[in-house]
Subunit: 449 residues, 2 copies
Amino acid sequence: MTANWRLQGVQRPFLIGSGIKDITPREQLEECLSAIAIREPTVRAFAYIDIEGAWVAADRATERRLAGRSISPIDGMVVGIKDIIETAAMPTGMGSPLYDGWRSGRDAASVAALKEAGAIILGKTVTTEFAATEPGSTRNPWDSRRTPGGCSSGSAAAVAAGFVNAALGTQVLGSIMRPASFCGCFGFKPSVGGLNRGGSHDAFSQSCTGVLAASLEDLWQVAYEIVIRAGGDPGYPGLSGPPRAPVAKKPSRLIFLETAGWAGASPEGKSKFEQAIADLRQAGIEILTRADHPDIEAVEASIAPSITVSNLINDWEGRWPLNTYRDRDIDKLSRHMRERLERAEAMSLTDARAALSQRSEIRRQYTKLAALCDACITLSASGPAPLGLESTGSPVFAAPASLLGAPAISIPYFTVESLPLGFQLVAAVGADANLFANAAALCELIANS
Amino acid sequence: MTANWRLQGVQRPFLIGSGIKDITPREQLEECLSAIAIREPTVRAFAYIDIEGAWVAADRATERRLAGRSISPIDGMVVGIKDIIETAAMPTGMGSPLYDGWRSGRDAASVAALKEAGAIILGKTVTTEFAATEPGSTRNPWDSRRTPGGCSSGSAAAVAAGFVNAALGTQVLGSIMRPASFCGCFGFKPSVGGLNRGGSHDAFSQSCTGVLAASLEDLWQVAYEIVIRAGGDPGYPGLSGPPRAPVAKKPSRLIFLETAGWAGASPEGKSKFEQAIADLRQAGIEILTRADHPDIEAVEASIAPSITVSNLINDWEGRWPLNTYRDRDIDKLSRHMRERLERAEAMSLTDARAALSQRSEIRRQYTKLAALCDACITLSASGPAPLGLESTGSPVFAAPASLLGAPAISIPYFTVESLPLGFQLVAAVGADANLFANAAALCELIANS
């Protein structure tokens, strides 16, 4: 089996076994700041760093650790916050000149929860403009000529470069899976509504707050510590699962979903993925494909237009606040954003309802797969990070889970053209904990191969 | 039949017959400003008035009117915006010293839509602190010793006092029905998700943006012009119905829901309501009660704890941003808010999920009534506005529709102790248009009685 991505630069996981790191939060922060001092000038993952605040938090966390009074398993963890999410101590720039230096005066629900759990909020990580298309300054840590992916660009790059233990991201189309894949870290997008988005400026119905980190355990723990304190989105039960990362459970049956991305995926990526499937079968896991069951074929057909349907919904739901930003200062909106607003304003309520109905129907189709498998698997992206910083790459492999509102994990699994490429698992809505258990089993298989 | 509330001070409806008022928007604004000059010092409905901006908008609307190029039926309508909803041209104070003078720099989705439709945004109407319990400065226009109700206090008072043609409110428990009832204007809370709440700071799962106005036609038109431009909440289809207020349709069968409020309602209010039921029966409308069908009895039982269940959900969902406001400056939170936060922080995610499950079950019960009736009817409040400004009165009659996510209309129907008291209609979720048609029929019955 292909070796897991042992990225020399990636911060080692925060939670080791017992969940208590063998270095103090102060030492942890020192490690992060050293990596930042060396590589941030190239990677440009941060929109803002609050070193002073981080030291205060690290001192307190260290005191608690030494006194045996740690608040949570992530007490002292160094965390980055995607700059679309509000923070009281730091500006929230949203990747837009309209919000340059803007201070909301409050923490988002997720940030308040992380602080309550003892995490050290080190900085704001670069986002594309309003978490959409227009790239920010960040470069891929493995090759600065390449995109880190978007829109949680800075979060993925910061984790991969060892600047933070974990970072918050958001995904409405491909924005956690893709940068996790390109940067070679773990990424988790929970079931829709899983983590409270209060104070995060991505008010789309299929957007989610998620996590990027250096291990599955860290991914889970960060998400868990948020949900128990802040809940899910209003009206949602929120991410459900145990207080520590679910124990590995080998799936008995997985479905390989080609998605619309397979035809255009990198040949080496496809070949590596096919080898992984062979390895998993070798390990006794049954793998079904579209040829094996009409329900799988039906789901493949229904998710094929995931990007188109998602874009219709996101355009409509993004009409506001873009229209009011346009009225304020159109010159501060990128061409991408102006075009998006034009598309939205050309839509009618009837068009929007049609897209929502189509999504409901696609989601209904997808529920049938739960009876057939433990989870679905596919690539996290079409290939390794493409050259160039003008585009954040294709979201084609990530879009289906976003449209479905389904939980997804990207594992840094493959090496393609000497760059990372992710292995994506997608489960039924609400089956987040089981997805983690299956992902952990796959990681064990890799480690033992 | 009891006479409809012909409030001498209430601004006459904006839409008359053809929907084009017989006075120009400038004259309309003059009327509103005259009323404000005389009565605002006592009523105190506004947190902020933008006279200059209103004149500019009125001039433009007047030009369009005279040129026969009105944008919409509400082009030139004078509107107030509850001060929990963001406005680009005016501060958004949220009834809290924490947001005194705060400018978000953008319009909420609903406000942007109203402006696109040509409405004149005259000012921000007083809200209770963060649209919750702590009263603002507003007094009841019919007796300044009495509460206007909350939390859309200023919106209801401004409409009733003739300061505006219509105003936006929000309801999470009783905040449109109650002030509409106490102030003697029409109020509409749509089905949950009906109007886009982007930029409105009431991020509760059962909260809705709604409308207060001087006629059913105005209520509908304001809501309609918002939804076609801004949609519903992300992921929701939004308020559905015709481009002009639904034509009156006499209901064949209504259900009288006592709710938990009936036992404690004012004797005169109850007697008037019973007389109204007799009148409706006289007019050939069948009225069922809990004694007539086990499903009605089951719904009465299930909605009895509406306030308790709503408060649990609202407390949990309001933990954020109150926790971050507390961290910022606890002295600027009222005792009510601090207590609410304490209750929220004493809750666990499990408690919150239990309350959400209970709400789902109550909603499921309620769906059975759709097969039995056109709509449900009850009082809008326990009685006329109580004396005193320390409390906004009981939300007991309004809470069920809030919990159910069901559309509700309050008609200024009764005179009790020489004060207004509302007649409330509640329909199935999504049946907003039919509710308006039924309400229009009841108004015709009143007018002809």
